[in-house]
């Protein structure tokens, strides 16, 4: 057993500098598209047509990205023939679902610095869950920030839900929510949990968590990287400011073909 202790010590500290600094390591986040002004109306319309989930819409002469619907399919990226929207290397993606919730959360501080989190799989593909699981690995080590995963909703402050909510998971999700003590918050992670993604609404799945229980914070992405989930948890304890839901066109140039 002493070997394991030595092995651990030799590995050294691997923890990210986030949230006190910016983590620039390669591959911590896939990044996401940003709204843009294009050279012509036709180019903008073509981009809107290329998006399979209608996350891109015409806005103020350019195109805006609704992050809730973006599934990271990269089809809005520039290729040999067509221009694309610019891409940003970010991960602070958590946002309030609407202005009412934003106002309520900003006025009323529900928690101190520590949170206990119950994760619920409501029909997720496994990628969101895998990213949430990475929060326990030494790179992200969320325990250092006072965040803990709890195996029961009865000890939980936060319900972290992934997936579009398949029919069979409606009842377990509602029961878990009801078993939580107040104050409680629901955080929807990933495009499926926010808007149903590519699956819902259909005969077998809802169009996200908000169909079943009220949602206090959304973390867009398909899947959101661990740092985005960490940002969301920091927003809940008001240590970080939330991001916006929609990325409007900016003056940065659209990426040329």
């Amino acid at each position: 057993m002493a070997n394991w202790v030595l092995k651990g010590l030799r590995t050294g500290i691997k923890t990210t500098v986030y949230p006190s600094g910016v983590d620039n390591a390669l591959g911590v986040s896939p990044g996401r598209p940003r709204g843009a002004y294009l050279r012509s109306e036709e180019e903008a319309d073509a981009l809107v047509a290329r998006c399979p989930t209608a996350a891109i819409a015409r806005h103020d002469g350019g195109v805006a990205i609704d992050n809730r619907d973006c599934i990271h399919c990269f089809r809005c990226q520039a290729d040999a023939e067509e221009p694309g929207v610019p891409w940003e290397d970010s991960y602070e993606w958590a946002a309030y679902p609407d202005e009412m919730t934003a106002a309520r959360n900003q006025l009323h501080r529900a928690f101190g610095r520590s949170l206990h989190i119950r994760f619920i799989d409501a029909g997720a593909c496994g990628a969101c869950m895998s990213e949430a699981r990475q929060l326990n690995n030494p790179y992200y080590n969320m325990h250092r920030l006072g965040f803990f995963i709890t195996p029961t909703p009865r000890n939980a402050d936060i319900l972290l839900v992934a997936g579009p909510v398949s029919d069979a998971m409606r009842l377990p999700l509602r029961k878990a929510y009801e078993a939580m003590p107040t104050p409680k918050r629901v955080v929807a992670i990933g495009a499926c949990a926010i808007s149903g993604g590519v699956f819902g609404p259909s005969f077998a799945a809802a169009s996200g968590v908000a169909d079943v229980i009220s949602v206090d914070l959304v973390i867009p992405g398909c899947p959101p990287p661990p740092l985005a989930i960490l940002h969301g948890l920091l927003v809940v304890v008001q240590r970080k400011r939330p991001s916006g839901l929609v990325s409007p066109p900016t003056n940065g140039e659209a990426s040329p073909p």
Binding site: T11, P30, V198, F203, A205
Partner: protein
């Protein structure tokens, strides 16, 4: 494949057709497609049992999948797919069933029958097709709250409608098997433990020891096959990648290969090589994640952290070379979307080499941790006999002495050019599975190095975007085993039928065999050593 190989393969296959026509003359119509390596056999319901028994017991074929299609004339087309080894053609047993004949003979009573068990139950639930002689039909994919007599896979069913679900009956109790005095059933799930997928296990116990486990799945049924119908290829590719995020590339590849076969599209050799690189990178990450899970289930904290670091490094590497941590969007019909520059090739080769070394060091340390081995050895046993009769696939079957691997059996992408030996163990316990995961992870790293060192020049995607109508079955070795993708393309380029047989579906079926007569605290370990995904199984 060289012309000579095709010719010799065709000669061997022609014997098969003679064999069929001789043995079953007048009762079947056998035709051979030498290019696709498929022997298609049309048969009548009355002969089905005898044919399946002969194939499995005398010819040594294994059941792969059952595909049900609703057509107009006659009402149903059922395709039973069997496969054997690299030299033999696959057998597609085709059965036409009239609308007025509401039942089909069930094949679960045969020696290899258990492998078709879940396929028949699923078809009964989703299509309303009854299988005569099946011991337990009903409430499988669709749970009790689903309205009776509504079959979502029927053509007449609208995928966008929301049905009124039935209220759960408060008096309902799950069926149990054990009837000893003092025995009780301990429910686990669907919301349980720290990070487990939604699934339910009923542990039948008399106190310390669990006698029997009754699993219950499909909490995550999202109707992927149904919502795929009528969508264009590009739309369904998103579903194929996203129904199981941990094997996104493998399933995207399975779908794209089927579309390419139907449309007669040739994939450039560079794209084939890159597909191999991405598929192995995914396998390496999947196995690292499974090893993390196994270490975590035995509460070995430092080993869990070490394996988790490897997993995260692989996620970052995937993102660096293919834009996405889970390789979403990397595969396209006719090729791949990301190329690797020479510098990137060197980077990948170096990175996976370093990861293979770290895995090797971890494996060596685990081998000398007796407390860890005690938890895994002789836990969750799957015997070779059971693995064969349940048709298990992937690392779990290979840990039980079944050496089948589709990368060898029917090489796709660039697998015919890479050199590796299939990892096989005999014991079939948790430790044998762990060893297979380690060996395969090392091999994946070696395959990646082999391929990126000799990446052929050329295009990464063909310009050929033509779509033809037709149907095809594609088979890929996903990280957890053999995945079969059946695609029917219509004239207008939309999907007529999409049937996925994921490895988790096949292997979860065998889980209850490993979870019998064990101590309570071993349950998470057995679960982790299977390393399966419910999202992949439930679709």
């Amino acid at each position: 494949m060289t012309a000579q190989e095709i010719a010799s393969k065709a000669a061997g296959s022609a014997d098969i057709v003679d064999l069929w026509n001789g043995r079953w003359s007048g009762r079947v119509v056998a035709t051979l497609d030498p290019r696709a390596g498929i022997c298609r056999i049309e048969c009548r319901p009355a002969d089905l049992l005898a044919l399946c028994a002969w194939l499995a017991e005398e010819e040594g074929y294994a059941f792969a999948t059952l595909i049900v299609e609703e057509s107009t004339k006659p009402a149903w087309l059922l395709t039973y797919v069997f496969y054997r080894d690299a030299a033999s053609p696959w057998v597609h047993l085709e059965l036409n069933v009239d609308a007025h004949a509401e039942t089909v003979p069930s094949i679960v009573g045969l020696a290899q029958g258990p492998s078709a068990d879940w396929h028949e139950r699923e078809a009964e639930d989703l299509f309303g097709l009854s299988f005569e002689g099946h011991p337990r039909l009903g409430d499988f994919v669709l749970h009790e709250d689903w309205p009776e007599g509504v079959n979502p896979m029927r053509r007449s069913f609208d995928a966008r409608q929301r049905l009124e679900l039935r209220e759960p009956d408060p008096a309902w109790e799950p069926p149990t098997i054990v009837e000893a005095t003092g025995s009780f059933a301990m429910p686990v799930g669907p919301v349980f433990s720290d990070f487990n997928e939604a699934s339910h296990f009923l542990l039948e116990t008399v106190g310390e020891d669990v006698i029997h486990t009754i699993p219950r799945f499909f909490y995550k049924y999202r109707g992927v096959e149904k919502i795929a119908e009528g969508q264009p290829v590009d739309g369904v590719l998103l579903l194929a990648e996203r129904f199981s995020g941990n094997a996104a590339f493998a399933h995207g590849l399975g779908f794209c290969q089927a579309v390419e076969t139907i449309s007669g599209i040739e994939v450039p050799s560079r794209a084939g090589a890159l597909r191999t690189v991405f598929a192995e990178l995914e396998r390496l990450r999947h196995h690292a994640a499974t090893i993390t899970g196994i270490c975590n289930s035995t509460a070995l904290a430092v080993a869990t952290s070490q394996a988790a670091l490897i997993e995260e490094d692989l996620l970052r590497l995937s993102c660096e070379i293919a834009r996405h941590r889970y390789l979403f969007g990397a595969i396209l019909p006719g090729g791949v979307s990301c190329d690797l520059s020479e510098a990137q090739c060197k980077r990948v080769a170096g990175a996976v080499g370093e990861i293979a070394e770290r895995l090797d060091r971890l494996h060596r340390m685990l081998r000398y941790s007796s407390s860890f081995l005690d938890r895994l050895e002789e836990v969750g046993l799957v015997s070779t006999k059971v693995a064969i009769s349940y048709g298990l696939v992937g690392p779990i079957a290979r840990a039980s002495g079944v050496s089948r691997d589709l990368r060898k059996l029917r090489p796709y992408a660039a697998y015919d050019a890479v050199d590796f030996a299939v990892a096989v163990e005999r014991e079939g316990d948790g430790y044998a599975r762990l060893r297979v995961f380690f060996r395969e992870a090392e091999q994946s790293a070696a395959i990646i190095q082999q391929v990126v060192m000799a990446l052929p020049p050329g295009e990464i995607r063909t310009d050929d975007t033509s779509r033809r109508a037709g149907r095809a079955l594609s088979a890929v070795e996903a990280p957890s085993g053999a995945a079969f993708h059946w695609v029917t393309l219509r004239e207008d380029g939309t999907i007529g039928r999409y049937r996925i047989t994921p490895p988790s579906f096949t292997n979860w079926h065998g889980f209850h065999l490993a979870a019998e007569n064990f101590a309570f605290q071993d349950f998470p370990i057995i679960l982790a050593s299977f390393g399966l995904s419910n999202a992949e199984c439930d679709r």
